[in-house]
Symmetry: C2
Subunit: 101 residues, 2 copies
Amino acid sequence: MRAIHAQLADAKGTTYSTTVKMLSVMLGKGLVKRDEQATPHIYRAAMTRDRAARKLLSELIEKVYDGSAMSLVLQALASSKASKEEIEEARKLLDEMEDKS
Amino acid sequence: MRAIHAQLADAKGTTYSTTVKMLSVMLGKGLVKRDEQATPHIYRAAMTRDRAARKLLSELIEKVYDGSAMSLVLQALASSKASKEEIEEARKLLDEMEDKS
DNA sequence: TTGTGGTAGCGAAAGCTTTCGCTATAATCA
DNA sequence: TGATTATAGCGAAAGCTTTCGCTACCACAA
């Protein structure tokens, strides 16, 4: 709690009450879980960062790129600077995809 | 207006008043532009679909993928089904990027 | 036991967005 | 022109999210 509040307060200058309420609302929505045994209560994200990222990504693909992941990829590639290693990794993925299809 | 309203009403079952208000709020926020000469007024998106898509994409990259377009690309590739043509196109982009770096 | 500091919660205020009723104005038609 | 229909706008209600004041509780020190 303290740690969470410290960050929120730092970013937005809000009070401790706000942090508590925010978390209880998020708990109600199932966005976080908490361990009530411990004092202070321990809050944890209900979803891993990775899963949340994937969810946002697939929503963007669905809503904005008409469900075509590839057109998002092309767009992103067109405006990205990547290292040789990353480019190589992407090639490998493309190869694997071609094999499967 | 009519056309816009038809879609909104269809999707959400809202009234004409709601459509008008929605557009005027969006106008205030600069999301749409309008031609007041014509009757009925003609509303146009202030941003092309393409530009809006790029904006959302770069926001996602910034907020969720720590500014690394490539890590988003890898993620998206890993969960996408693409045609040979698309894969080929992606390879070309990768080649170009490698040349430039 | 009583006071003090950290923790939790409730209820409501403040601030958005969304929705609509009602009114006014413009256009169309008989 | 007068009546009828389409168009635009205003102001407020309804419904969220965000924020906080105040209260209650709990643990520990004096």
